[in-house]
């Protein structure tokens, strides 16, 4: 039996682990990235590798030590470097003397036969067509539920009366989803989730709204972005992320199969500023920024790993987008040296500025109203 493992990103490990188990593999669960993961990654990775590369490499070392013999990861067609991660990681790890098989899942659009061959390697159980359908439905439901739990937590956290309650509820929801075995249970959990979030005591005010864009890994993995959403929520800010796992799966796996570009509207929004696809999520970052601006957000935060190429391109464009639409802009570059307290200080200052700006706007609009009444 294959002992399969994969990179850790946000809550994605829950559906992926279930999928691998359903296909008849043993799963070695990757640990949540911690300081040991990061120091292992930095030790073996090249100096200028981006932060996700280092974390993933560190995770691989940990799972290989724990006995995994097959690593599964996604590929890509460039020009972002992420598509070549597996090639280089395999080389580095083999050089260190580990024995394993690396299975790269390429996007279906251009490498359909490769993808099918690698999926075949992962299916080690006899399954009927109906089983596949059921597995697919279950996994999809789980993905959407996890995203929903996260969205709800973003909405509730800035309003909570007692600090830390949302985080507790969110963790409980994730645990419940992780334990679910059948699609019926998931439906029950969905109801329970509503009740749990509904039960949190809330204050009534209009929080400052901040959109978060950036590179997918640091966006989705809380240990890589130093729990930025939690920090912002506790500062009383409604933070919305531009990317969620289920949306990403649709635009990159399903749409690609039919040779259609995912997230078309976002790309259209970006086109006045950013005319060319440049890999990664550079153009999506710009498009989502425009989208956030149109929805009346107060500020924008861009998360990028150090030396991430598409985000560097986006970073030189985003200030102009924000200036033209009157949003505040903060760019955070993350790597293994970034400290949580430093980030918190910068976030606090940023949020204070946005609050002040809002107050000023209100004051000036009140003034103009007064002037109208006087005349």
């Amino acid at each position: 039996m294959r002992k399969v493992s994969f990179p850790y990103m946000g809550t994605s490990y829950i559906p992926i682990a279930k999928l691998m188990k359903a296909f008849g593999n043993e799963v070695v669960l990757p640990p949540r990235p911690n300081s040991e993961t990061i120091s292992l990654g930095c030790k073996f990775a090249p100096e200028f590798a981006c932060y996700p590369f280092k974390i993933v490499l560190g995770t691989y070392v940990q799972v290989l030590e724990a006995g995994a013999d097959t690593l599964v990861s996604t590929g890509g067609v460039g020009p972002c470097r992420a598509g070549l991660y597996t090639t280089l990681q395999e080389k580095i790890l083999k050089n260190l003397g580990y024995k394993f098989e690396m299975i790269t899942l390429e996007p279906p659009g251009r490498h359909f036969s490769d993808l099918m061959a690698s999926i075949k390697k992962l299916i080690n159980a006899r399954l009927s067509f109906r089983d596949y359908i059921n597995i697919g439905r279950f996994i999809w439901k789980e993905l959407t539920l996890l995203d929903r739990a996260e969205r709800l937590s973003h909405k509730t956290r800035p309003l909570e009366a007692k600090k830390g309650e949302t985080t507790r509820v969110y963790k409980k929801c994730v645990d419940l989803v992780a334990k679910a075995e059948s699609i019926k249970e998931l439906a029950e959990i969905e109801r329970e989730m509503e009740l749990l979030y509904g039960g949190i005591e809330k204050k009534d005010f209009d929080p400052v709204k901040i959109g978060i864009v950036g590179e997918i890994y640091v966006l989705m993995e809380p240990s890589a972005n130093l729990e930025i959403e939690e920090t912002l929520g506790e500062l009383g800010v409604y933070a919305e992320r531009s990317m969620f796992l289920s949306g990403y799966t649709v635009s990159n796996a399903v749409m690609d199969l039919f040779h259609m570009a995912g997230e078309r509207d976002v790309k259209k929004l970006a086109s006045p500023y950013f005319k060319e696809m440049c890999g990664g999520h550079g153009r999506e970052s710009v498009g989502n920024a425009v989208h956030f601006a149109r929805r009346g957000f107060d500020g924008l935060i861009q998360l990028s790993p150090f030396t991430c190429i598409p985000e560097i391109v986006a970073k030189s464009i985003l200030p102009r987008v924000c200036e033209e639409s009157g949003m505040g802009f903060l760019s955070l570059t993350l790597d293994e040296q970034t400290g949580k307290e430093g980030v918190r200080t910068r976030l606090e200052a940023f949020v204070d500025l946005l609050f002040a700006k809002r107050k000023k706007m209100r004051l000036s609009s009140a003034k103009s109203q007064l002037a109208k009444e006087m005349s």
């Binding site: 090249p46 100096e47 200028f48 590798a49 981006c50 590369f53 590929g75 067609v77 460039g78 020009p79 972002c80 470097r81 598509g83 070549l84 090639t87 280089l88 395999e90 080389k91 580095i92 050089n95 500023y273 950013f274 005319k275 060319e276 696809m277 440049c278 890999g279 990664g280 550079g282 990028s304 150090f306 030396t307 991430c308 190429i309 598409p310 560097i312 391109v313 970073k315 030189s316 464009i317 200030p319 102009r320 570059t333």
Partner: protein, 319 residues
């Protein structure tokens, strides 16, 4: 009409083509000044901090040009063949420039994507000449001359010269041959590379760069890597290195890279691991806007001395 070509990035790889084409169209071509400290400082001022040095330099060269010409030629290099594209920074270059350089209104943005159809380059040149209201025959003539000029340039490299640095030929019977690999815009900018190639030549080294290896030999190495790299220049560098490993036609390899260069973290690591396996001396030199002359000299001298000692030992053992 005056057209400006910034002396950075793609300039070093393709300038004979661009220059000849515009000249034969009857336009006045102004190439920006050779890189100086002032240009570098201007670029650092305008570009965002995370960008690599060559991109910052491009910003500097645009600043140097934009007020004295009618148009500044900024190519958006997407791809020149079917297998690879360019680095994302090349793809987003015009967008970056229009956002970070102030009052930059006279950009001549040209999208170069040659992977879909044959004769794309020809039609691209035709549409470009139409923009300047030139007739078909003038344009055709310019295109043919440009192609010849580029072929001549490539041929000079194969003969052992390095035209952008003004080196016509190198002495063949030198004791040490070194492969100096890196992107054209790093190697041939004498300010950025701190005259590294000339320094090596003065030390009595025969230098081989990726451009000096015939395309045929590079393509032979294409299958060696499990997955092709996504970037044209990187592919050329890696294949050159593999060519050196296989044929042992050099004594050592120096890889020149820019600080924070995205593609190079993969290129460099792949070559480093391979060099260790194949027992080939290998040195990486990372350059940025603050690299000092002396540090570089010391490292180059040490590396070349080491190779000389190694060779002397080998000869003694043979004798």
């Amino acid at each position: 009409m005056r057209i400006g070509i910034p002396r950075a990035l793609a300039y070093y790889a393709y300038y004979p083509f661009i220059k000849t084409f515009f000249e034969k169209l009857g336009l006045e071509v102004v190439v920006s000044d050779e890189t100086t400290k002032e240009i570098m400082d201007k670029g650092v001022e305008d570009a965002i901090t995370d960008a690599c040095v060559p991109v910052k330099l491009f910003h500097g060269h645009v600043r140097n040009l934009k007020d004295r010409v009618d148009y500044v030629f900024v190519p958006r290099l997407v791809s020149i063949n079917a297998e690879a594209t360019f680095c994302p920074k090349f793809l987003g270059l015009p967008d970056m420039l229009s956002c970070s350089v102030k009052d930059f209104k006279n950009m001549l943005e040209v999208r170069v994507d040659l992977r879909k159809k044959r004769m794309r380059l020809f039609w691209l040149c035709m549409s470009l000449s139409r923009r300047f209201k030139k007739g078909f025959f003038t344009a055709y003539n310019a295109y043919i001359k440009a192609i010849f000029s580029f072929k001549n340039y490539a041929h000079q490299f194969l003969q052992g010269g390095i035209p952008p640095l003004g080196i016509v030929a190198q002495r063949k019977n030198l004791p040490i041959r070194l492969g100096v690999v890196g992107y054209p815009y790093m190697l041939y900018d004498s300010y950025l590379s701190l005259d590294l190639i000339k320094k090596l030549i003065n030390m009595g080294v025969y230098v081989v760069t990726p451009e000096m290896v015939p395309e045929k030999d590079k393509m032979k190495q294409a299958k060696k890597l499990k997955k092709n790299l996504f970037w044209t220049f990187s592919n050329s560098v890696v294949r050159t290195a593999y060519h050196f490993f296989e044929n042992r036609c050099v004594d050592g390899i120096i890889h020149i890279t820019a600080f924070g260069c995205g593609p190079d973290f993969i290129v460099d690591k792949v070559m480093e691991l391979e060099a260790r396996e194949k027992n080939m001396p290998y040195l990486t030199i990372t350059l940025d806007e603050q690299t000092g002359q002396e540090g570089l000299n010391t490292r180059l001298e040490a590396f070349v001395d080491m190779l000389k000692i190694k060779r002397a030992k080998k000869e003694a053992a043979l004798a």
